[in-house]
Amino acid sequence: MRMLARKLPFYALTFVIAITIDFFIPRLMPGNALDAVLAKAGSQMGSPQALHALEKLYGIDNPAGLPTQYAQFWASLLHGNLGISTSSYPTPVTSVIATALPWTVALVGAATVISFVLGTGIGILVAWRRGTWLDSLLPVTTFFQAAPYFFLAFLAIELFAVKLGWFPYGLGQNQLDYQTGLAPGHVADVLDHAALPALTIVVASAAGWMVGMRNQMLTTMDEDYVLIAQAKGLPKQKVIWYAARNAILPSVSGFSLAIGFVVSGALLTEIVFSYPGIGFVLYQAVINHDAPLMQGIFLIITVAVLAANLIADFAYLILDPRTRQEA
């Protein structure tokens, strides 16, 4: 428990710093960068009053000093107010994000779990069968790992959607199908639309888990207790299980490094597929210079990534008895 007591303030501090960065980014821009962004936003909103309010929000012609603005920024955040989206004026940023978030959580969550299980499993196998043809998987997966997610998405669309016609591309569901909820046809349709984006994310991210697990497994297999287990004549599965469950710990604690990459990559994948999640909304925000929406998405995703890290820390606590004993 002591570990969590140490981790919680860290995440709280990171959260505060993320918000502070979010506050300062537009204000630290050189010269007229912010003016240009706001001018574009003003033309979308078509209302001089709204533009003036926005300028004031970003500290232009605002009599209140920076500390006051910072306090106001926090106050509105704590009231759940992330501002008004300028590209879909006058919808609040929170409701734009709320519409998109479930799509992303479902897609990225499922794809991450699949790729973690798949990658870790293959990593164990490759380590155990070291020196066989399985070693040649490494350079291949390296290629998939190095390729940008969105490039793999391009390929998936051209190959599986256009050439072979196996799956639909674009959007999250059939636009002509007005069913919602859990009607069987609708669920199948949604899964059908999620197949290619999920495949892209799994292919691109499984390699990372695989290489990490392989390297840890190789190191663990050299430990004396594994050798003894083998020497005692334990069944091979059991020996692998002993080694693997110790080797997996760094994978869990390395989660923090990976999850940020996976989420960022998944957001870009959504853009290629016009998938109705946060990534696509982010793209719209970027091309429309929708400053409040960009900032809101940064905050929401940062919070989500921090939460995922906290969960990984919990998992580590459960998986590794040593962390509990030391407390």
């Binding site: 912010l34 390729a147 390929l155 051209e158 050299d222 970027v286 998405i297």
Partner: protein
């Protein structure tokens, strides 16, 4: 763990003079050689690419509005506005590679300064610097970059872009370097340098950093890899200048803007995507080599069944990760050419 002055492989190979400083000696596995070859090819491309581009990458060469597939005049076809894809690919390599390497250099310098200082000084400085690194590590970096570049006017300044990318990419290296410095700090040779009264800067610069070289190299390659990926992503989103300032991510932006992947214009998006993937693969393969140098247990190349049989190792060696140990008789008696290779790597 890393390199000590008595690196056994170097001594066994008989190439290094006894008192020579430790060198970064990569295992000569196919992985490393392919990686190195690819990387040199890409660096060459960065230098001469824009010069050998057959057309002006931004020039509209004809009036027709549909992308043309590869032909004798345009080896990689043309884009929507009849620009030459090959010329864009050749011209775009320079910016992509320059930004990635700049990001790598800047981030590695920050990582070394922060990581080694934190590890060597310890105490409050360590706590604060580690905290800083950990915060940057958990924050979704690409998203932060998207927001920063979203507010900046579309830039074509490679140095600025590289520096901003570096700001989000140094933390991982700093963490690894800190951990390694911690383990070096109390070694005898550092201790004796301290007792003889050498200054802290000299100890860090002459005793510690040379022993961190493989890890610094690995973290540099990792950051360059990160720079390639993030710069491509940012250019793909159109957040930097992408027309006169060509990059591979920018090409993907234009391809995406007319749905090249749906319309089957594969010659337009496959070359830049493949180039990014190959550059990334080259860096990752080299990194494998350095990983295997740092941690010899990870070596697998050269340890195929055939080689193992030649070395007299039983065909099944699920636990035989260090084959030298498993040689049944005295190694000198059984050295065959194959075994020598396994031995001295």
């Amino acid at each position: 763990m890393a390199v000590s002055t008595t690196e056994p492989a170097a001594v066994a190979a008989g190439t290094a003079a006894p008192l020579r400083a430790p060198r970064l000696k990569l295992p000569r596995s196919p992985k490393v050689l392919i990686g190195l070859g690819l990387l040199i090819a890409f660096l060459l491309l960065a230098v001469i690419g824009p010069l050998i581009a057959p057309y002006n990458p931004s020039a509209d060469l004809a009036a027709s509005g549909t992308p043309q597939p590869p032909s004798a005049a345009h080896w990689l076809g043309t884009t929507q506005t009849q620009q030459d894809v090959l010329s864009q690919l050749l011209a775009g390599g320079r910016s992509t590679i320059v930004v990635a390497f700049l990001a790598g250099v800047v981030a590695t310098v920050i990582a070394v300064v922060v990581g080694v200082t934190a590890g060597y000084l310890g105490g409050l400085a360590d706590d604060l610097l580690s905290l800083l690194a950990n915060i940057f590590l958990v924050m979704p970096a690409l998203l932060l970059l998207i927001v920063i570049f979203g507010f900046l006017p579309a830039s074509s300044d490679d140095l600025l872009i590289g520096a901003i990318i570096a700001l989000t990419g140094w933390a991982w290296g700093a963490r690894v370097l800190r951990a390694q410095t911690l383990s070096l700090r109390n070694r005898d040779f550092v201790e004796s340098a301290r007792i003889t009264g050498e200054s802290t800067t000299r100890i860090i610069g002459w005793e510690i950093v040379p022993n961190l070289l493989p890890i610094i190299a690995s973290s540099f390659l990792f950051t360059v890899l990160y720079g390639v990926g993030t710069y491509t992503a940012i250019a793909y989103l159109g957040l930097v200048n992408i027309d006169p300032h060509w990059s591979w991510g920018g090409m993907l932006f234009w391809a995406q803007s007319v749905n090249a992947q749906v319309n089957g214009y594969w010659w337009w998006y496959i070359p830049p995507g493949l180039a990014v993937a190959l550059l990334g693969t080259a860096l990752a393969l080299l990194n494998f080599g350095i990983d295997e140098f740092i941690n010899p247990r990870l070596r697998s190349a050269g340890l195929t069944r055939r080689r193992a049989r030649q070395a007299g190792i039983p065909a099944r060696f699920p636990l035989g990760v260090t084959p030298v140990v498993r040689l049944p008789a005295a190694p000198t008696a059984r050295l065959t050419p194959g075994a020598e290779q396994v031995d001295t790597r």
